[in-house]
Amino acid sequence: MNAAPNSGLMAESVKDAAVAALLAAVLGFFFFALRTDIGTGGLDLTYRWGLWFIAIAIVFGVRLLLNLFIFKAKKPITSGVSVSVPPALTTAVGRVIGPVLLMIALTLPFIVMAVYPERDRQFIDLAILIMTYVMLGWGLNIVVGLAGLLDLGYVAFYAVGAYSFALLAQYFDIGFWMALPLAGLLAAMWGIILGYPVLRLRGDYLAIVTLAFGEIIRVVLLNWYEFTGGPDGISGIPKPSFFGLDFSRTGGFADFFGLDYDSIHRFIYLYYIILVLALITNFVTLRLRKLPIGRAWEALREDEIACRSLGINTTNTKLTAFSIGAMFGGFAGSFFATRQGFISPESFTFLESAIILAIVVLGGLGSQIGVVIASVVMIGGIEILRNLGFLKEIFGPDFEPTQYRMLIFGLAMVLIMVWKPRGIISSRNPSAVYKERKKIGSDMVAQGEGH
């Protein structure tokens, strides 16, 4: 193909693009051209030929351009863009990027307040959301990234944490700081209860069982009306206090420190809570990796059979990873409950688990910084779509960018994975063993526990 003359390239590209357009026509016929709607006397069928042709044309055009310039081109224009950075530079950047990100994270509320004073609340709220996902990602990273246990039901522990705090507050009037460790403990306990019977399962089976557990917990929360409020959820969850000071208009935080009351104080406070929680997660993970248990996790991920022959108790090793991951999920959950003030089972669907897992895998398994980058890109990217109001002027008032959020999210998951199957940060710092392993064919690796 490379040696083909230019006209051949053109003909070939057009042919290929035509095939793609034909496929798009077939796939899109029942979705673009036809639309079923509830009308008078049952379902009505509306025809949208214009939309169908536009979709086909777009597929044709994009495919043609991709063919001409990237897929079939003699010199793809992307060839100049080197995606793989030399490892020396990565480690150098890696050494700097952590502290830099940490500094940014520590000062973020004040930067935001200085730069965007009129929209600071919104941005800090977004930062809190991203931080929550960073924490969840780091928690799940222990399970998936370090121990190599594929967990598709992580949201169950998030839910346990959130409901623990909400119920403790409702029935025993316990505040956030008292409930936080309890919620973590409860989540860890559930991790052990759920993990013990299933952790001898391998790979995909474990994934599907954890998914089932996640769904079971959600369905129970949904149907146990007397205890959890069912689909109505629990509202009026107390806000965290600052050493006994509330963030109320009078007699609270602002009065005590002689500040003017501003609701932004609470946002900043929440931001720092989640930041500290996330940093604790990160710190614990990094320390654990240096302990025998952390080494055992990573060994387990690489090869379970070798692990067992070396005398590592695989059940206990898996169980600790599972329950510690669950504990951090529980912490994040109770933070979520206090931030929202209201929780319902709807917040803990499988999609949430999928998003957290996607963040971990897209960031690069086992990479702490990768999780941060992936959360910022995925969660922040989604939120940007909310603010694309100007697109309405282009596509008409009916155009609602937010409804494309999840579509774009899913596409991004697929594209990033196809582009970089091992995640954005695919090189892990620790051992030379890992590099060796990469050279071994993937079919050999597949026999190990994880991936």
Binding site: F30, L34, R35, T36, L45, I208, M406, M413, R422
Partner: protein
């Protein structure tokens, strides 16, 4: 007794649908060892295509119901196969030979994409279709303290069970007798060796996805006829349950998938009938957990041999 029989019939009907979806899971898992997470959504796409085809045929003025149903079935199988093929081509083939989590993530991504694509293009509201096939046969009648209770076998249920049976037989023949089935079994055992012996592995895998999607389309169409209500989200739950069925029957085994589907359908219906409707999903998932813990290779599966 009559109530029991009625539930048995209902369970078998539902189980046939799960079984048809489960075959798609089990074949893909058998051949490339991945959970095709988007398969449940392929089923959903199939039911939407069937709905649109059905309405289009009615709008075209075709009045013979059997003809409409037959054409709808064929069209939805054909077009859903195209979707199955495309999903494999875009999201799984580039990752062949990559590490194991990668295709799982793209599968989840594809599932999100399909759900949202359908939601955006067809709207989020449920699509009700009035029952098309009415009537049935009363098998027996009994008297209880609440009055008489009849065991009904509706034509709809007959059609579903009969179609499933026919497809299963045809499908087993396809796998055991044709060269396509042979190359499929070869790929299942050892892809590298199969490739060396002249089997086009990529094509075989593509065809596996196509066949799985076609069966899912049948299941989608039947689901539409049986329940009369579809929306963009039906794929997730049906998919998880069908996967449960595949695991229960022993993943990789076709009769196992069918058996597992029937069992899951029966469990769900009996649980709803005798205990509580709310917890029917919990029942299905608990079965999955229990089976995996005590019988990881399922009912008809071969135990996995661990080699070092």
């Amino acid at each position: 007794m009559e109530y029991f029989l009625q539930q048995l019939i209902n369970g078998l009907t539902l189980g046939s649908i799960y079984g048809l979806i489960a075959i798609g899971y089990t074949m893909v898992y058998g051949i490339i060892g991945m959970i095709n997470f988007a398969h449940g959504d392929i089923f959903m796409v199939g039911s939407f295509i069937a709905l649109a085809t059905f309405l289009a045929l009615v709008a075209l003025g075709i009045s013979a119901l059997p003809l409409i149903l037959f054409i709808t079935l064929l069209v939805s199988m054909l077009f859903t196969s195209a979707w199955g093929w495309t999903v494999e081509r875009l999201a799984y083939r580039p990752l062949r030979g990559s590490f194991r989590l990668a295709p799982l993530i793209t599968a989840i991504g594809m599932s999100i994409v399909l759900q949202n694509f359908v939601q955006i293009t067809q709207g989020a509201r449920v699509k009700p279709l009035p029952p098309q096939i009415q009537g049935g046969v009363t098998l027996m009648e009994g008297v209880t303290e609440n009055g008489t209770i009849a065991v009904q076998l509706s034509y709809m249920q007959m059609i579903i069970i009969a179609t499933t049976l026919a497809l299963m037989i045809g499908f087993s023949l396809l796998i055991s007798k044709t060269s396509l089935g042979r190359s499929q079994r070869a790929c299942e055992q050892d892809q590298k060796m199969a490739a060396l012996l002249g089997v086009n592995v990529d094509r075989t895998i593509s065809l596996t996805f196509v066949m799985g999607a076609a069966l899912a389309a049948v299941a989608g169409f039947m689901f539409l006829l049986l329940y009369g209500v579809i929306d963009f989200y039906i794929g997730f739950l049906a998919g998880v349950k069908a996967f449960t069925a595949a695991v229960l029957g022993g993943i990789g085994s076709l009769p196992g998938a069918m058996l597992g589907g029937l069992l899951i359908g029966l469990i769900e219906v009996f649980w709803s009938g005798y205990f509580s409707v709310e917890y029917k999903d919990v029942a299905a998932f608990s079965i999955l957990v229990i089976v995996l813990i005590f019988m990881p290779s399922g009912l008809l599966g071969k135990p996995e041999v661990e080699k070092v």
